[in-house]
Every structure is written in C-alpha cells, then in structure tokens.
Amino acid sequence: MLSTIHHSKLLKIAIIMLTVVALAVSMGLSVAFGAVDIKLPTVWNAVVHFNENLTTHQVIQELRLPRATAAAMVGAFLAVSGAIMQGMTRNPLASPSIMGVTNGAAFALVITMAFFPGVSNPAMTFASFAGAGIAVVLVFMVGSFSKSGLTPVKLALAGVAIGTLLTSVSSVIALHFQLEKQLGFWQAGGLAGTGWQANQVLLASGAVGMVIALMIAKSITVLNLGEDVAAGLGQNNALLKILGILSVLILTGAAVSVAGSIGFLGLIVPHITRFIIGTDYRWLIPVSALFGALLLVLSDIVSRLVNAPFETPVGAITSLIGVPFFLYLARGKNGGGQS
C-alpha cells in the first residue's frame, strides 16, 4: 500500500472542497460536450432557467444531464464498494471487478431478461443485486475453504475463475435467447442512453447503500487493526461484515444495472484516496465517493472523444487507466511478495 501524507483536518476539508469544484466543472463539461457543442453558460441556464422551447435546453435536460449525474453516481458507488471491500478483507486487490461481482450482476441480468422478459426496471435492479451477491458469496467461499485463506493472489484468481464461469454461462444463455447485444453492453460498460429513470434507481439504492457505508466507516477503521483487536474493543465483527457486504451488493448492483461492468475503478480510487486522505474510513469513504465520481465523469468524456462521433465503452477507458495501477500494486510488497 502507499504511504500516507500527514495532514490536518483543514487540509482534508480543503481537498474535499477542491474535488467538489472539480466535479462540478467536469460535469458541466460533460454536459457541454457532444454531437452539438453547447457553451457552458447555456448549460447553467438550462439547469437554472429551463426553457422548454429551446432545443439545446431539451437536449441538456433529457440526454446530457441525466448521463452526467448517472456517471457521477456510478463512479461514486463503485469507489465506495471497493473501499469497503479493501477495508473489510484487508486485501489491497479487493474490488468489484477483480472479484467477479460485476460479472455476477451481468449474469443475473441476462437470466432475468431471458426467462422473465419485460420485467420492470426496479426488478432488474434487484436481479442485479442478487447476481452481485452470488459472485461475492462464491468468491468468499473459495477463500474460506482454502487452506491459506484469501490471500491477494487467491482472491484475484478466484475472481477471475468465477467471473469467467459466470460470463460463460451468461453467454450461452444470451446466445440461446438472442441477448448477445445486451450482454455485450454489460460486459463493456457504458453510459450512453441513461435517462432519469436510471437516475432514480441509482439515487434510491445509493441512499441506502451510502448510509450503511457511512455508518460502518468507523468500525472498518477499527477492523483494520486486526479482527482480534476489533473484537477485543467490543466490536461485533460478524454484524459489521454482513452490513459491509450488504452495502457493497446494493452499490455495485445498482451501478452495474445502469452502466454495465466498469473495470478497475473500484480498485484504484480507494488506493489513491488512501494516499491523499489517510486510512480513517470516516474520511476515506466519502472522499472515495467524490474521487470515483470525478474519475468516471472524466472517463466518460474521454470515451466520447477517443473515437468521435462514436462512443468507446467507458469500461475500456477505466481499465486502461487502471491496469498500470494494478501492476504497480501487484509488484508492491502487499500484492505479491510472501503471501
């Protein structure tokens, strides 16, 4: 893991303010940029003084704004999921995409679409939660059955194996029910076409998931001292883990059901945040959320720029950013080494 910079509360608040400003500006840019470029003041006007007679205002309200907010929320959720997973397992490689959670969610979504066509949006989201849950349980089961426990490399390999298995079964089902296109979308990850309905789903699940995450933040910090120490301090570790897994499922499930699998975001953001803000999860979780939101909004802009006028799946962009970081972690003392 990276060493941390020492800093005061004031500095932390300054960092948060700065990130919020950066996030607002990049969301503005995200809205402004597109097939028809719109100037930033117009964006502001469309939000504050909406005029339904203007096409630009309508484009902003119906297409671009929901996309930007969805990107911010998905990024935040994945980053927080990663932070909680890393905190609970004390494993630097734990994160939604490494652990096959996103594959699980996509798996459940394909099954739902194949066998219950035409289900409502909330039902799809619940399927996504369930699928994410299946993957997490499977990966943890592999870990707890194995003799040496869930070492970083085992976690990564178990995630790869279970992810591949779930993806393979999904593709058979998708082939049979002609859902290849949908499956392809969830595997690549993208934010095109997210409307206000998707935002409602995100907002509702996010409210629950984030509240749980913030509630357990302090306990996760204590857990990082070691399970025995935490238990000695009177902490109920079992309850904490259940709550942690619950919030991860809700946050990741909602994110995948809207944007598909977005690789490595949940892995790298918590590390960067830990480096900047320290290991106190009361700070780490909210700041991870902000950084995650910022990173995904920016990646989404890049995904539209790389191959304009066509879109590149944003999951591919985040993977390309994330891989060098993953390699750095793998080379680090906690990644490979003695484990």
Partner: protein, 338 residues
C-alpha cells in the same frame, strides 16, 4: 528402481492407448453428428472414398478440417500450459491467465484491422499465426519484465499476467469498435474462443508449428524436469538454468500463439489439462507432455462437439464450453493448493 520404471512405462503405455482409443471413437462420433447426421458406416465409407457427393462435401470440407484444428489447438494449448507450469514452478500458470492468449488475440485483431482487406485469403491464413506469435511474444515479454524484481516470483507473475490480460482486453474492445461490422462479428466470436475459418489451408498453416514444437518440447523434457526442482538444484545439477528456461518459455509462447491464431482465446484448457495428466501419470515431463497433448486434443474436440450441437442450430463458442467445463476444476485447485 528398474521395477518402478517398468511399471511407469507400462502405465504410460496404457494411458496413451486408452486416450488414443477415446480420441478415435469420439472422432467418428463427431464426424457423424451435426445438422446433417451421418451414420458411422457412412463416415467410414466416405473416408475411403465411397460416400455420396453430399457426404463428401459435409465431411471432408466442413467437419474434418474443423476437427483436426480442434485436435491441434487442444494439444498445443495443453503442452504450452504443461511447459509454463514446469518452467515457472507454478501450478496455476497458463497461457490464458498470463495474458499470452490475449496478446496473441490483440495482434491478430490488429492484423485484421489494418492488413487483411488488402491481402488475398490464402496468404493471410499463413501470416495470421506469425502475427499471433508476435503478439504472444510481446505479451510474454511484458509479463516477464514487469514481474521481474530481483527474480521472478511465481505469484507476482500470475498477478502481473492478470493485469496485462485486462489491459489487452480493454485495448481490444476499443480497437474492435473501430472495425466494420463484418470484421467486428468475426472478431467477437473468435475472441470468445472459436475454431474459426476451419479450412484445409488453415490446418496446413498450423500443422508445422505443432509437428515441430511438441516433439521439441518432448526432447527438452529432461531439462524441464530439472528446472522444476528449483533454480538452485537445477544449477547444481549442471543445468544451464537461464538458457533452458528461455528456450522452453519461447516454445510455450509459440505453441500458445499458434493455437490462439486458430482457436481464439480459449481459457483454462492449458491450466487444467496438465493437472489431469499429472494425476494420471505422475510428474515426469517426458510422460506428462504427450499425455497432456492427448487429453487437450480430446477435451477440445469434445467441447467443440458439445458447443456445436447443444443449442443447434446455434453454435456456442468452444471457449465458452471449455470455461464451463474447466473453471470448476480450477476453483477446486485453487482451494486445494497453498
């Protein structure tokens, strides 16, 4: 000592004969099944030149090259995995996990993207394996150097491989989307592992690789046995550790690259098959390499048949079938090993 060696040889002979018989039986079943089903007698007749024109077309031009390719690719990937596991002293090493398959895939896709349209068909069939080899080499080089930190630790090697794999996959997606729809489909199916463009020229372009490299690996089996004991012991026994390792690694990478060119990114096969071979015949590489080749060929032929017929007329890519068959075994290995 000689008693046990005799027993070993006997066991090896039995296993080999059994596998060959299984392959032959399955070979005839696979030839006969499909949208047009042909009786075993009909298959035999067609092979000796007595079948109807229709049977000849279906069997000799469509099914036979595909089965031969499946056999070659299966053997190639399995031997590649066996060598990699021996060289890295890592039971979980495999061309798929180490990112070599994806690297080869990336190079092939680059080739299709930039060159294929300007070349005629037969020529590109022979060039694709070379490109795949190049990509496999680049990936292997990247993984090896990035995992290097006062020597190559097996665990770091696997983790770096996973990372490189993800990187190439992401680059592939970006590249794929820039293609025209026809190439896009071709690449998508192929990437999930599929015996594509099964034709005799393709078989011919793959055959020399396998015919040269698999026996070469067999010749090097003793060096592999020694390397498997660990670098220090190997050096003590008078082995040129670095030289042998390099030659063997290159062999494994070349086998994987050629296999990927024909069969796409088939995951887990190279990992699981050597384990099965060791279970059957013990750890000596002069035995495990041929047995791995046979099991790999058998497994891929079976997987291809299942994929072709399970949801017929829809075809499931063979890589998907292999993953579903072998991922549970991989998970079992993961639980068992330390």
């Amino acid at each position: 000592m000689s008693q046990s060696r005799k027993y070993k040889t006997l066991r090896f002979a039995t296993v080999t004969v059994l596998l060959v018989v299984l392959i032959v039986v399955l070979f005839f079943i696979t030839l006969g099944t499909g949208v047009v089903s042909i009786s075993p007698l009909g298959v035999l007749k067609t092979i000796i030149g007595q079948g109807t024109d229709r049977q000849e077309l279906v069997l000799l031009d469509f099914r036979l090259p595909r089965i031969v390719l499946a056999l070659l690719v299966g053997a190639g990937l399995a031997v590649s995995g066996a060598i990699l596991q021996g060289v890295t002293q890592n039971e979980l090493a495999e061309p798929g996990i180490l990112g070599i398959n994806t690297g080869a895939g990336f190079a092939v896709v680059l080739f299709i993207f930039f060159v294929q349209d300007s070349l005629n068909g037969t020529l590109s069939v022979f060039i694709i394996p070379l490109f795949a080899l190049l990509g496999a080499l680049v990936a292997a080089f990247l993984v090896y150097t990035l995992a290097w930190k006062n020597g190559v630790n097996p665990i770091r090697l696997v983790l770096v491989g996973i990372g490189i794999n993800a990187g190439f996959s992401a680059a592939l997606i970006i590249l794929q989307l820039k293609m025209n729809p026809e190439n896009f489909r071709q690449v998508t199916v192929w990437l999930s592992g599929d015996i594509w463009s099964a034709s005799w020229p393709f078989v011919m372009s793959l055959l020399p690789w396998m015919v040269i490299l698999i026996p070469f690996a067999l010749v090097k089996a003793n060096a592999l046995n020694v390397l498997h004991l660990g670098d220090d012991v190997a050096a003590g026994l008078g082995s040129k550790v670095e030289g042998d390792r390099l030659v063997l690694l290159l062999t494994a990478v070349a086998l994987a690259g050629a296999s990927v060119a024909a069969g796409g990114a088939i995951a887990f096969l190279g990992l699981v098959v050597p384990h099965l071979a060791r279970k059957l015949i013990g750890p000596m590489h002069q035995y495990t390499i041929p047995v791995s080749a046979l099991i790999g060929a058998l497994l891929l032929m079976a997987a291809d048949m299942i994929g072709k017929n399970l949801l017929a007329p829809m075809e499931i890519p063979v890589g998907v079938v292999v993953s579903i068959l072998s991922a549970p075994y991989f998970i079992y290995l993961l639980i068992k090993t330390n």
